[in-house]
Symmetry: C2
Subunit: 297 residues, 2 copies
């Protein structure tokens, strides 16, 4: 795609009309029965691949981006990893931006290897998620790929899970929290030369859970140039109104993700009797509408 | 192997006479010329596989454990992942304990998928490294596998890299540091029912860099039941005396890792003219001797 990740994402959001992302977290046991043929690693990897490709076809006209969850593929080892990159390639071919949810975090040459394997080149995702626990050493190699190839990065700042606060709320000397400290590091990492796009957003973004709107408002102040990847809508309990805290007043600045509430929509009672891909498409439409109404766009 | 990871590791250390681990961080460009045949992804994955299998044969009589670095394999996608699991399998067949350096960190069902793919079952490593930034949610699924299968876990507490302090030294209200807070979470996660081995160590350990001996001494107090995986010796600059801070007075409690200084020993001037696998074996012997002398065992 070229260009700058943040510009590309903002443009795709405007084109589709909603800042939403569908998370691809395929779990074999939850797939439609017709896809569950065979039970060994190869068959399971083939099934989650087929499932994701069908989901991509269903949601591509509706959403700007998808977020494949690497763990769900890695559980099937090499066959799963092959499926993951097939899904990434198909998504890009359908014009979707792809955020690889890998949450890698390492240092030096190891981080370089992760950046090379998961972010660099036309066959890799447009952006990935990374952990910042190891400090700037762990983020720099990814930032280098972003600068060189117009790709993007979302650093874990405040995650959506119940125990997130155990570590991320660790309080500093003047009552400041670790997640605020991490946010400042992310803002700094994203401010280097060649990292800002035409629209003022950096290619270095942050993961900020929708389940914590108060924290999101605070983080929006600390990171004015960061795009937020916002998990937690739907199955994890956050509403579109909760998500609004991650956005700027002009309605830009965040991408809200929903995974299970969309891709497993065919298991919801109110959609029973619907073809499974139709149920997924309807759920993606409902998700996009819900967000754009809450944001008033 | 069965049993309990900490018991197995302590026994293997006693058998081999030194608490050392060889890190397998294969980088294609640094391999002996004779292994660098072809240049595409398949050829590179085959080369790092062949290199690691030869290193395993050379070091198996000397060291109790090896630590393959997942990133170095993942850079070659499915071919690399297949090579990684071949290396894990071969290492276990040679009687080595295997610590998969994957540093995964996620939550709920995603963390379950990582634990299933990277730690569960006879074909996976005996232990893995994980990130604790997401709190207890991110560690629990790995702990469940440890309890059920006698496997182990090393949670990142204080890493060996230069910028580690940017995040991990974040100071709390009474001057306590984030890494101490993380250490308390790790001690708590490792204290549950069925997690302690016969020798009093938990299957939940910690990564504590050798480059920070002062911090290591403090962490040894906070985590009396944790085994420490200690990176930073050799190429990263820490000496055997620095590493000693991670051990208890009885000489148990830690496993020191060296990667580049051992596996690329054939590139050192003082070993030129030696067959490359002989150079690796000699470097592993020197490493083991250096550590056991420093610890007085």
């Amino acid at each position: 795609m070229g260009g700058h990740f943040a510009d590309n994402l903002l443009e795709a959001i405007e084109q589709k009309g909603a800042p939403v992302c569908v998370g691809l977290d395929p779990v074999f046991e939850r797939l439609p029965a017709e896809l569950r043929r065979g039970d060994d690693r190869q068959a399971r990897a083939a099934a989650i691949r087929e499932f994701c490709l069908a989901v991509l076809e269903a949601v591509a006209p509706i959403v700007p981006a998808v977020k494949p969850q690497s763990a769900c593929f890695e559980v099937y080892r090499q066959e799963g990893v092959a499926a993951y990159f097939d899904v990434v390639r198909s998504a890009r071919r359908l014009g979707l931006l792809v955020v690889g949810d890998v949450k890698r975090g390492d240092i030096g040459s190891t981080a370089e290897a992760y950046a090379a394997g998961h972010l660099a080149g036309p066959e890799a995702p447009d952006a990935v998620t990374v952990s910042g626990y190891l400090g700037a050493d762990g983020i720099r190699p990814f930032v280098d790929v972003c600068r060189r190839e117009g790709k993007g990065l979302f650093v874990l700042v405040r995650t959506s899970n119940p125990s997130a606060g155990q570590v991320q709320d660790f309080a500093g000397p003047e009552g400041g929290r670790l997640y605020e400290h991490m946010a400042r590091l992310v803002a700094e990492a994203g401010a280097g030369e060649g990292l800002l796009g035409r629209r003022g957003y950096s290619c270095v973004g942050a993961v900020v859970g929708a389940t914590w709107p108060r924290e999101a408002r605070r983080l929006r102040e600390i990171m004015p140039r960061q795009l937020f990847l916002v998990p937690g809508y739907g199955a994890q309990g956050a509403t579109a109104a909760d998500c609004a805290a991650a956005f700027k007043p002009d309605g830009t600045g965040a991408l809200v993700n929903a995974s299970r509430s969309v891709i497993y929509a065919f298991q919801q009672d109110r959609r029973s009797g619907t073809d499974w891909t139709d149920a997924v498409r309807q759920a993606a439409e409902d998700f996009a509408r819900d967000l754009s109404q809450a944001l008033g766009c």
